[in-house]
Symmetry: none
Subunit: 211 residues, 4 copies
């Protein structure tokens, strides 16, 4: 992710009889792994734990993933917004940006949405600094998000009466991502932080960014 995390995900469910089951099993494993990773971190979560959470045997996992590393990478991939970042494309006004951020913030605070977990974002980013393959996944997603986000910023700026070059918009997108990921850090370090109090300030900052 970056400024936005995945929301749709499946689509296929009872469709193809061929690899349908395999896909479902993979998803089951990834769901379990995600929960475990959030609870204990990539290294702290054991295959046995993941298997138990997925209610299957450890051996079976290896039919769908060659190694624990692959699960980590798949989780990272899945955790980041997939193909095209439709969420970004739906952002049209300054308020949309702010709303989206606050929404993420709230979900992080509640810690109930495994696919939007703040600690996981941090762990994943830290891991990217060590694992080239993960870095590549993260960066490629970031690039995609950044592209759509830049366009969205252009849109929202125009709405505010400002015209931004794509390059200028891109820089703003970077700052927005900073704010977004910074919030993820804050929410972990200070879970009692008030979203309501923060909102007007964020709105002000974003407005400044658009002008």
């Amino acid at each position: 992710m970056s400024f936005g995390t995945r929301q749709a995900q499946q689509g296929a469910r009872a469709a193809q009889p061929a690899h349908a089951r395999a896909e479902r099993q993979r998803a089951r494993i990834l769901d379990a792994a995600e929960r475990c990773f959030i609870e204990r971190g990539f290294h702290g979560a054991s295959m046995a734990h993941i298997a138990a959470t997925a209610r299957m045997s450890p051996g079976l996992i290896y039919r769908y993933f060659n190694a624990k590393n692959e699960i980590v990478r798949a989780i990272v991939e899945r955790h980041l917004e997939t193909d095209g970042c439709p969420a970004m494309q739906r952002l049209n006004t300054r308020e949309d940006f702010c709303a989206r951020m606050m929404e993420a913030f709230e979900r992080w605070r509640r810690r109930d949405n495994p696919s939007m977990n703040a600690a996981l974002i941090l762990e994943l980013t830290a891991e990217a600094s060590r694992d080239a393959e993960i870095l590549e996944i993260v960066r490629s997603k970031d690039r995609a998000v950044s592209k759509d986000l830049s366009v969205a910023v252009q849109r929202a700026a125009r709405e505010e009466g400002t015209s931004l070059s794509l390059e200028a918009a891109h820089l703003r997108a970077v700052v927005l991502q900073c704010l977004f990921e910074g919030l993820a850090c804050r929410v972990v370090r200070n879970p009692s932080l008030s979203a309501a109090a923060l909102r007007p300030l964020l709105d002000k900052v974003i407005a400044a960014l658009m002008s």
Copy 2:
């Protein structure tokens, strides 16, 4: 830390002959550990690896630390600005804030200053979501930083001709921390990010924050 990491640290070096050696050994271990943690993460780095990096036997480490956990905590503690956050107290103008951020950003990019490592900040924060003791260390430092940072924001705002209540300043401090930590994320995810291009934008945002 958060919005600032330690910079001074030593001072005593060849002073007391008594515990001097012990202190030096502890530092040697922590230095090695820090490098290893950056390279492989808290859990990925083994005591053997740390020992080898510190050029000592694994057993010796246990003369200075009771357990690996203690090293992690010491690293976290050391990595965060200690007692009173003097760096924050030196921030007086809007430009100071911006300069400090860019400076951190550059040091993160260069990756040559182990005590100012972006990935470590992320890992440490992620770990705080799982280890209560680390969370406490992080939060207590954050509280101290936040206090001094709020006052600094008040100062800088007054300089800009704005008067802020302590509460209002505190909220601004939170946003500044978000930007700061968000930059740490960005620098890991996109090491080629240009500081120079970012600076005017950051200045603008901070200005908005102060007004």
Copy 3:
């Protein structure tokens, strides 16, 4: 045990297909552990050694026991006569007591019956003075044995024409246990001790005890 060690034990072997294998593995581990403990003592025997003796990998042991301590305790438990001390209940005459003692003595001398090993009794008793949990196991078995042994003493005494209160019988039981455990010490310290020569004397002592 004390005045008597377990003799029956199994019964189920090829019974339940469910936990049958697990039970067999546990037994295999305990058998190996017992041999190792006899050879090297509780602390001198390493898990690796036990695993090698059981012809399995060290890791596998932990599927059946959570820790080495648990094995020690299981060994202690298994080594002591279980539930009700049926052996004691079969003692009816003075000669039975003497016979039982000599039989134990002989088995100790031969050192071929791991479940009746003199050195293990001593080690186990010494360990009980340091490990509260082991002490509890030992004492609870001792209590059970003592109860049945007291009744047996009453029986045997009546056979000799003496009527003993339960309390009086209990004291005699204690002395019998002393003799029994004292023999275990002797057999270790002086393996060449002649059972045949000892027997008449023991008989005489026991007779005095019953009168």
Copy 4:
């Protein structure tokens, strides 16, 4: 020991200026070791612990003992009655035997006399079954005790009006040792055992032995 433990020990204290200090250091180490062994067993007590108890550095111990094993052996040696077993030679009547046993029993119960510790006797005996050198020490002491004890039994028997061959007396000595060591077991396993209640019974048994 066996039927009796050492009581005298020193004699030399400020005598020879030559090896006097060395002897005192050895004694200091052995005193500390004994306490540690009682607390934690031969294997559970570490050299560091012994050194700390002796208030010296671990390194210094190795000036007086080549290895931990040697300390164990020295402790075993010291714990057993030295030179001729004078205690045995002072036993003249049936009552003397009983008194001596009860006295040992009481000291064991109090656990305050490090040189008369029941658990240590057991541990030491168990160790003898594994360490040939310790076995030899134990056996040679046992032989010495047994000799003196046999004579003492003859003496006491004559007092009772019975004449015993040395061989017959020797067998009685063995049984007395069994009772003695058996009491050591009992005292560990059941510390609440009443000495007073046991005494008449022991007296009766010993009387039977002498007749």
